[in-house]
Structure formats: structure tokens, C-alpha cells
Amino acid sequence: MSITTTWYLLLAAILFSIGTTGLLVRRNPLIMFMCIELMLNAVNITFVSIGSHLNDLGGQLAVFFVLVVAAAEVVIGLALVVAIMRRRSRTNADDLKILGG
């Protein structure tokens, strides 16, 4: 049995679902970042596999933009976590509950 584009797309869909579930279920910001990375990389796999399926460079091109932006995003996210960690001993998204009402 040969591996066709469908398999890659399926893999991406599964990765995306794992990422989404993780983001909604887990409460540690670092794990949540990892889940976001999973989701973004699922997007990358989709773009690349469709790009190679259609023989279109646009798919590969899109991945570069996604990669760069994802890197910038994670830097900001880690900076925010560091800022919070300085003020309190542990970080848990459920502890963030000053705001509400």
C-alpha cells in the first residue's frame, strides 16, 4: 500500500485535533504552548502535502510564513509566562482568576 496525500492530510487532521483538545483540557501554560505548536504544525503539514500534491510552490511558501510567525508568537508567550512567574511561585491557567465577574 502506498502512502498517498490523503494519509498526510489525515495525519494533519489528527495532530490538529490533539492540539485543540490539549489546549482546551490542559491547564499548564507551557503545555498549552506545545499544543498550539501542534496545531500550527498540523497546518504546515496540510500546506506542504497539498502543495506537493498540486505541484504548487504556494503551499511550501505558506509554511515559511507560518514558521516565522509561530516563532515570534512563542517568544511573546514565554515572555508573558516569565513575567507572571516572577510574581508568583507556580503557573497554572486556573490560578489566573483575579479578573472575572
Binding site: V43, T46, F47, G59, I76, L80, I98, G101
Partner: protein, 502 residues
């Protein structure tokens, strides 16, 4: 041989320098501010706000010349378009950015925080919005969205020694990144079905019969959901109240106006240029978002005691009004164009009245030291001018003639009622009921400010800084002008995206 091939393969696309002049000016000012900050540190600080304000005004000059020129300019094979629609929205963004800078002067630095970087970030975010107005390609929409969001995450968390601000920043970040990941997955699906990222080519591919695929439907749903987050439509609004409360108030004003408008611009470009033909998919989606946003936003706003949270929920409700015309936009081309004009009109007027309301809140909250509505009681006794201004903004938000908000709401109702669709009439009824609910809580604030006794003993008149006076003057002027002479704003917002979309 191989090097030859490489050289032949890359040919720089023709760039219309006039068309991208506003972006280049804004970018240069942003870079200049960052450099000055690095070189002179504290010494440059007093001049930063003025410099970034001047930079925004300088950006408006090429915008004006482009507007006078009036030709539609298409760059990069249709990925970047400068037309009347994008020029009007760029002008709205610039005006909102200018007012936010006026609001931020002297405020951001309170509590010994750095100020210079703030203006650099603000200009970067503004740059993303200005790019968003011209983006007609999935990739450029995505890059513009991130360029406007990433600095905004930092601006929300600006008060780094304030746990509230930290929390707001992290919440906004997590929700924002989640939404953009969902949107991006939707984009990759759209690319998969149509084989292109340019919106007008996606429309061609739908015409060619690719629109019926269920993957296309999924892609559209994901993309619309991603932007529903950005414009804080129910059920993607949960971040808004917390982030608005925790962020420094000028940043809140910026998010509630400029960032929301940017989300709308992208949504409009995607729907009108990209998948206008598939109205059977996005119309019901938008209908639900609009009805839910109006109703939930207004009902929850009724029981808020903090004015910033109240403005957050009222903003959610206003989003419902703004998005409503889209629910019937697919009926016919003329309805589509009317819906587009109505939304752009609403965005322009909403920017003025909401920024104005936040300007008053910033000034009053600094005096009273609290954002509770009760602390504004009797404001008329120590801040008569501000009370009058706030009343104008609140009644405009509620849609009372002859203020700007009235015309904005009127346009929305006109589109809904003349569409000839049952769903349109139903949504108009929902909107009418919600206007009444909204009037109740806006009027309650005004009543407290005018009629109640002040809670503090210090009745000396509040001092308002010159920059806040100018911000208020701009907002009051625009709100009144657009209400009394609606044909003025209608002339500018008579824009169309459908000409080349269909």
C-alpha cells in the same frame, strides 16, 4: 548554468511605490522611534508621543494623495489591493491610532513604566491594520493579522508589575493564538480545495464548481470562527471583558476600536472577494453570530458594575449590530454593496464614539481611582464638560438622533429591512429589541453622572490634559458631524468590493 537558472527564475514584481507609500512612511517612523529609543533611552522619552503622532499624520498624506488620485491599484498579482474600500479603512485606523496616542500620553508612563517601546509597538500594530485593509490573499491576511495581534499581546500586559495586566495579557495571548491557529487550518483547507491563496482566484475556483465540497464548508467555518474571535462576537467573546479590564485603558480603547475594525476588514474582504457565491454557508453562520452577540452582550452588560467591563459587553453587542448586515449580504449584488457600506459607516462612527467614551473614562477613573460606575456618580459637579461629552457618546452608542450612532444603526436597519428576506426581518426585530435594552444601561450611566450626589468631597474641577482635550474634541466633532450631516460619511463609505469579486 544553475546560477543562471536562479537569476532567471526570480524577477522582482513591479511595485507601485505610490500605492505602498503609507505603509513605508509608517514603517520608517516605527523604525525611527525604536532607534531613537535605543540611542537616547530616557532622554528621548518626552518626545516619543509627539513623534509617533506626527508620524501618523505624515502617513495620512500619501493616503490623501491616493484618495485624490482615485485609481484602483492592484499589486503582487492581486494579493495586495489599494482601492477606495482600503483607503477609507486605512483612514479610520490612522485616526483611531492618533486618538489612542493622545490618550496614552502621560498615562502609560504612570507607575514608572517604560514609554518609548509602547509607541513602537502601537505603530507596529497599526501597520498590521493598514496592511490588513489592503490584503486580498490568505497569506497576507494572516501575516497582517499576526502583525497587528502580537504587539497587542504585549501592550495588554504592559504593566508588568500589575498581576491584573499580566493575567489579561496571557489570557488574550492564549485565546488569540488559538483563534489564529483555527483560522490558519481553515485557510490551509481552502488552499487545498481551490489550489490558490489569492481571494479572487478562490472565487473563480468556487465558480468552477469547487464550492460544493464539504472541505470548503469546513474551511469557511474555521476562518469565520477565527475572525469572530478578533471582533469578539458571541460565542468567541469570553476574552474581551477580562482583557479590557486588565489592560491599561488606552490599550483597551485601541483593542475595542482598531483591532475590532481590523477583524471586520479581513472578514469583509474574505466574504465579499473570496466566497461571496457561497452565501448559503456563511449567511446562517453570521446570522447566529449577530443575534447571539447582540442579545448576550446586552443582557450581560445590564448587570455590570465596572464601567470597563460594561463597555466590553456593550462592545460585544455593537459587534452584533455591525455584523448583522452581512447576514443578508448574499441576497443580491445591490444588497451586498449596501451591507458593505453600512458596515463601513458603522465602523467609522463607532470608532469615534467609543474612543470618546474611553477618553472620558480614562480621565474620570484617574481622578476617582476606580472604574466602578458608582464612583462616577455626580460627575457633573466636578467635571461638567466631561459629563456632557460622555452623555453625547453614550446616547450616540445607544443610537439616539441626531448623533452619529443613530445614522449607523439606521443604515443597518435599512439593509435588513429592504433585503426582502424573512431572516433579514427577523434579525431586524432582534436588533430593535436590543436597541431598547442598550438604551437602558447607557442611560443609567448618564443619569448617575448628572443626577446623583458625588461620592467624594473634593469638588474642585478636574484637570484635563491638553492631549485628552484634543482627543475628546476630535471624537465629539466626528460623532456630531456624522449624525447631523449623515450624507458626509455616506459619501466616504460608498465603497464596493463586489465589482471584481463576482
Amino acid at each position: 548554468m544553475s546560477t543562471n537558472l536562479l537569476i532567471v527564475a526570480f524577477e522582482r514584481p513591479a511595485i507601485d511605490w505610490h500605492a505602498v507609500a503609507p505603509e513605508i512612511v509608517l514603517l520608517s517612523v516605527g523604525v525611527l522611534i525604536t532607534l531613537l529609543d535605543i540611542l537616547f533611552l530616557e532622554k528621548a522619552r518626552p518626545y516619543m508621543a509627539a513623534l509617533s503622532g506626527l508620524g501618523i499624520l505624515a502617513t495620512a498624506i500619501p493616503l490623501l494623495t491616493l484618495g485624490i488620485d482615485g485609481t484602483e491599484r492592484v499589486l503582487f498579482d492581486g494579493a495586495y489591493v489599494v482601492d477606495n474600500f482600503s483607503l477609507v479603512l486605512k483612514a479610520i485606523f490612522l485616526l483611531a491610532g492618533y486618538v489612542v496616542i493622545l490618550l496614552s500620553t502621560n498615562y502609560i508612563v504612570d507607575g514608572d513604566y517604560w514609554e518609548s517601546e509602547y509607541y513602537g509597538l502601537l505603530l507596529a500594530s497599526l501597520m498590521g491594520m493598514i496592511m490588513m485593509a489592503s490584503s486580498r490573499d490568505l497569506i497576507s491576511v494572516f501575516v497582517a493579522l499576526e502583525l497587528l495581534s502580537i504587539p497587542a499581546y504585549l501592550m495588554v500586559a504592559w504593566r508588568k508589575r500589575d498581576p491584573k495586566s499580566n493575567e489579561a495579557g496571557l489570557k488574550y495571548y492564549l485565546m488569540g493564538v488559538f483563534a489564529s491557529a483555527v483560522m490558519l487550518y481553515g485557510m490551509s483547507l481552502l488552499f487545498g480545495v481551490s489550489g490558490t491563496t489569492v481571494l479572487s482566484e478562490i472565487a473563480d475556483s468556487i465558480d468552477a464548481g469547487n464550492g460544493s465540497s464539504s472541505v470548503m464548508t469546513l474551511g469557511i467555518v474555521f476562518v469565520v470562527a477565527g475572525f469572530a474571535f478578533k471582533v469578539s462576537a458571541v460565542p468567541f467573546h469570553t476574552w474581551a471583558p477580562d482583557v479590557y479590564e486588565g489592560a491599561p485603558t488606552p490599550v483597551t480603547a485601541f483593542l475595542s476600536v482598531a483591532s475590532k475594525a481590523a477583524g471586520f476588514v479581513a472578514l469583509l474582504a474574505l466574504i465579499f472577494v473570496g466566497f461571496y457565491e457561497l452565501s448559503n454557508i456563511w449567511e446562517p453562520l453570521i446570522w447566529i453570530l449577530a443575534a447571539l452577540s447582540m442579545t448576550v452582550g446586552n443582557l450581560v452588560a445590564l448587570r455590570q458594575t465596572n464601567i470597563v467591563r460594561l463597555m466590553a459587553y456593550s462592545g460585544v453587542a455593537q459587534t452584533g449590530f455591525m455584523i448583522a448586515p452581512l447576514a443578508v449580504a448574499g441576497h443580491s449584488l445591490s444588497t451586498g454593496n449596501q451591507a458593505l457600506s453600512a458596515i463601513v459607516t458603522y465602523l467609522a462612527i463607532y470608532a469615534a464614539m467609543n474612543l470618546g467614551a474611553f477618553a472620558v473614562i480614562i480621565t474620570l477613573a484617574r481622578r476617582t481611582g476606580s472604574a466602578e460606575i458608582d464612583s462616577f456618580s455626580g460627575a457633573f459637579h466636578f467635571a461638567p464638560g466631561l459629563t456632557v461629552a460622555m452623555t453625547i457618546f453614550l446616547f450616540s452608542l445607544a443610537g439616539i438622533p441626531p448623533l452619529g450612532g443613530w445614522f449607523a444603526k439606521f443604515e443597518v436597519f435599512r439593509v435588513l429591512a429592504t433585503s426582502g428576506e424573512t431572516w433579514g426581518y427577523l434579525l431586524a426585530v432582534v436588533a430593535a429589541i436590543n436597541s431598547v435594552i442598550a438604551l437602558f444601561y447607557y442611560a443609567t450611566i448618564a443619569r448617575k453622572m448628572w443626577a446623583d450626589d458625588p461620592s467624594e468631597k473634593d469638588l474642585n474641577n478636574i484637570e484635563v490634559t491638553p492631549s485628552l482635550v484634543s482627543a475628546l474634541a476630535i471624537c465629539v466633532l466626528v460623532t456630531l458631524l456624522f449624525g447631523i450631516f449623515p450624507q458626509l460619511v455616506a459619501r466616504f463609505t460608498e465603497v464596493s468590493l463586489l465589482a471584481f469579486g463576482v
